[in-house]
């Protein structure tokens, strides 16, 4: 966290936060043992060597809480839900709690102009040091009137809040790349945060919904190293999005063996074989679902028997459909005109055309091209 530590910070944060995170956790009934376990899990989530766990413990022991504001635009609140339902209550929740969540529509106690005043205060007084979290896409069409909060457009608010933040975490696919609101024909002109506010420092945490573990890990990374994690070409942290689903999938041995589910509920499906032929998008999706899983590591789509929908890829709703087929439809054609039908038609057409040409050539008389007779 770039925020200065010392007396002025403590003064603004109030007495409570002179305590370390671990003291706060203790006060909330989280044992030291649970805290250590959490730190080890975080080092694993961040793909750091185990030796980093004690450093995470130390960092969190010393940390003073940074302010976090959670903005919600065109969304289904799935990411807030994912966070709230992550656990009851785990260290992760409390670590996020310990970030002073000064504004989050779904969970804050304040309402109306008081809530807005809270947000204004953070933007004014903590410029460059607070973290903004954005959930949901930002509409750009018609001056952004399709999403207004307290009479101001999402775009306007995002420019102000994300522009002044130390960093913005775009949670979920909508905030990252526009998500479902941006799916064709995209009536509201929805875009992700980075596209709406190019000047902001944005880390994308896509997924539908985001995996709360990845959010916690990003924040821990940030508290530990005082900087944002390394990201890929799509602005996603490599620790969570650096590997393909397919390469960590528990069904992968069946893929390599050549054992595929051919129909829902068939023998192969019941035996847990690979869902490749059912349109699984694991081979083209980067996410740590197979290792991190959802809902406190309970499960994830492929484990539950449904192919990956590729929800953490940009514009997944347009590019990953049809969900139960391997390839997208050829643009500009009817639904049934799949690539293979066109391709086969092309090949057969070529063969037929040349067949006809051959027959005509055979009957062509006085063909002067029969060069050997020439000259």
């Amino acid at each position: 966290m770039a925020r200065k530590q010392g007396s002025d910070t403590e003064a603004t944060n109030g007495l409570e936060f002179q305590d370390s995170v671990s003291t706060l956790l203790e006060r909330r009934g989280v044992t030291r043992r649970e805290f250590m376990k959490f730190c080890t899990a975080m080092s694993a989530a961040l793909a750091l060597p185990p030796a980093f766990a004690p450093r995470i413990v130390r960092a969190l022991d010393e940390v003073k809480r940074p302010t976090l504001v959670w903005l919600e635009f065109q969304s289904c609140t799935g990411d807030t839900e994912a966070l709230l339902r992550a656990s009851n209550p785990t260290v992760a929740e409390i670590v996020l709690d310990i970030l002073s969540i000064d504004y989050a529509e779904t969970i804050m106690a304040a309402a109306g102009h008081l809530a807005e005043a809270n947000l204004d205060k953070v933007v004014r007084e903590e410029k460059g040091t607070y973290i903004a979290v954005v959930e949901g896409s930002i509409p750009m069409k018609d001056d952004g009137i399709y999403c207004c909060i307290a009479g101001r457009t999402a775009l306007d608010r995002a420019r102000e809040v994300c522009g002044g933040a130390f960093a913005t975490l775009a949670v979920g696919t909508c905030a990252s790349y526009g998500g479902i609101p941006a799916a064709a024909p995209n009536p509201t002109g929805a875009v992700g945060v980075k596209a709406a506010v190019p000047s902001a420092t944005v880390v994308n945490l896509p997924g539908c919904p985001l995996n709360a573990d990845n959010l916690t890990a990003t924040v821990v990374h940030f508290l530990l190293f005082k900087k944002l994690p390394a990201t890929d070409g799509l602005g996603r942290p490599l620790f969570a999005y650096g590997k393909r689903i397919h390469d960590n999938c528990e069904r992968r041995p069946h893929f390599d063996a050549g054992q595929y589910v051919e129909a829902w509920g068939d023998q192969a499906h019941r035996h847990g074989h690979c869902l490749y032929k059912m349109g699984c998008k694991g081979p083209e999706t980067f996410h740590n679902c197979p290792t991190q899983r959802y809902n406190d590591k309970t499960s994830w789509p492929v484990a539950a028997g449904h192919g990956c929908a590729g929800c953490s890829q940009p514009m997944f709703w347009d590019s990953m459909t049809p969900l139960y087929k391997r390839l997208p439809n050829v643009p500009g054609f009817g639904i049934e005109a799949t690539a293979d039908k066109i391709g086969l038609g092309l090949a057969v057409g070529t063969a037929a055309a040349f067949g006809v040409h051959g027959v005509l050539s055979a009957f062509r008389r006085g063909d002067d091209s029969e060069g050997a007779k020439e000259d």
Partner: protein
């Protein structure tokens, strides 16, 4: 046939890359079709059907890429029939005349076609397009292949394509161009046969021997 004589037209690199392309495209097409739409051939999880098919596909892809690169190199080093100029007859007035004449011959508008020593003008133009398709296949193929190692050099070189176009667009392109190349192969074999019969220049056998029967000494 007194006026015909054998002329050495196709140099070894031209013939070698041609046949390596034939072989690798055949292997790539067959394995590619399996990868795109596999049948359940494995009986137990310890089988490795898809594993081997993908291995063969990737190995053939490397072979094909090296072959295409060699041919492009030879387009600047080889004799006049191997030269890149043969692929762009449209750039010269004589080339354009030849293209039109060949087109008229193919469409039965005229009885006599041109008798080129190297590629006929339309074929040369087609091969230029085919080489573009080859490059599309190589680039999309290796971009998709590199995704298994996101921190690797190949992914660093090609990753921008995945940002620009989506992975699914690249996959669809890779798949559709396969069909275009199948269409080309049918056309190519037919045309070669037609030329063989009509020109009696032995274009088919020339792709093995390198010698073509031509009319006059240049």
């Amino acid at each position: 046939m007194g006026h015909l004589y054998e002329k050495y037209v196709w140099e070894i690199p031209v013939r070698a890359t041609h046949w390596v392309n034939v072989l690798s495209i055949a292997v790539l097409t067959l394995t590619g079709i399996y990868i795109g739409s596999p049948a359940t051939l494995g009986a137990t999880p310890s089988d490795y059907v898809m594993g081997w098919v993908r291995f063969v596909h990737f190995t053939a892809a490397y072979l094909f890429a090296v072959s295409v690169a060699s041919r492009i190199y030879w387009a600047f080093r080889g004799n006049r029939y191997a030269s890149w100029r043969e692929f762009f007859p449209i750039l010269t007035p004589a080339g354009r005349r030849n293209m039109l004449a060949t087109f008229r011959y193919y469409t039965f508008l005229c009885k006599k076609g041109p008798q080129p020593v190297g590629h006929n003008a339309l074929a040369g133009t087609t091969y230029a397009l085919v080489f573009v398709l080859y490059l599309v296949m190589i680039v999309t193929g290796f971009t998709l292949y590199a995704e298994h190692a996101p921190l690797g050099t190949m992914h660093k070189l090609t990753g921008w394509l995945l940002v620009l176009f989506s992975n699914q667009t690249l996959r669809l392109t890779h798949h559709c161009v396969m069909w275009l190349l199948i269409g080309f192969a049918i056309h190519h074999v037919y045309s070669a046969w037609l030329m063989d019969v009509k020109e009696r220049g032995g274009v088919m056998s020339s792709m093995f021997s390198g010698y073509k029967a031509v009319r006059t000494k240049d």
